[in-house]
Symmetry: C2
Subunit: 184 residues, 2 copies
């Protein structure tokens, strides 16, 4: 069983027009994805943001649930927030995992040579380097992130005939964790 970590990237991501931008942190993403991560055995949930003030915000949210009033009101959230790690870049996340990491990217679009969820699940169950599963905010990861990744996961497909597929990153992360690590 390989170490399995996740990252939520706020830069570089694209906006609706495909321009590379930096998005703001959505408060709820932090504990929502941390809770899903913790439930599915994801060892580290990296929140990636290049702006110091945004990282401080994320650290404050983390502290609120770790030692602040949130930890007294809802103690169940503490073990989840424990795995949240706020970093400046994907490089820092990779370094904190030991440097030798397999990078898997996600998006809502089919890309050449995408890795099926079934194969990804089997790869996670075998031995090997840690895997870092990367999610983009905004309209998704910038091309530069996909280019350096070792694999791109097949997108979650719509179940409706009109192909509507606009899951939140919170929902997509929960579904992917379940497909890759949930009971079968």
């Amino acid at each position: 069983m390989r170490r399995f970590a996740a990252a939520l990237v706020h830069h570089p991501v694209v906006d609706r027009q495909g321009v590379t931008v930096t998005t703001a942190i959505t408060n709820l993403d932090l504990h929502d994805i941390a809770r899903s991560s913790r439930t599915y055995g994801v060892t580290d949930f990296f929140v990636v943001h290049p702006i110091a003030a945004q990282r401080e915000l994320a650290e404050r949210v983390r502290e609120h649930w770790m030692t602040g009033s949130g930890s007294r009101r809802i103690p169940d959230r503490t073990p989840a927030l424990e795995i949240l790690r706020v970093v400046v870049s994907l490089e820092q996340a990779i370094a904190e995992l030991g440097g030798d990491v397999e990078l898997w990217t996600t998006s809502a679009r089919v890309r050449p040579s995408s890795l099926s969820h079934e194969k990804a699940r089997a790869q996670l169950e075998s031995e090997g380097r840690p895997v870092l599963l990367v999610f983009g905010t905004g309209w998704g990861l910038a091309e530069a992130v996909h280019e350096r990744s070792h694999a791109h996961l097949v997108p979650i497909r719509s179940a409706v005939s009109d192909g509507y597929n606009h899951l939140s990153v919170r929902a997509a992360a929960a579904i992917l964790f379940d497909r890759l690590r949930g009971e079968r």
Copy 2:
């Protein structure tokens, strides 16, 4: 294929101590679960709240994405919010589905004679009455809701040895929709 609707209940639900309470609406739940619902072919997403001011808030959020500035900024959300229906009670949701509805409840606890996700999936694919899948906010649906339900879905189990299992209702809904209606 049966009609498949979902409801997010804010009353009657329980708090940490098991006392029946009414929770406040979390803004993000509305478009997050609406987007997951729409992607997985859920026909109606009912937001159930007994307090008029809270229903008005939900209607304002809906309008923002249907015809307000949100619909111009992120038009992809409009088809999702179209299926959101704000109601005063579960009874009203049932009535709006035609009255003859099968009620399925969810919780994080195993209950006697729970319905597996595999069987639930098969039942949804067959012919029959509409199914209304009910999610609770707070610490889950009050016992009274479970007592009147036709089936209780097996809870989503933790994938970790310590059994940590504290998914947000947004994550739980996304995972269940995927298990019941996602591609196989």
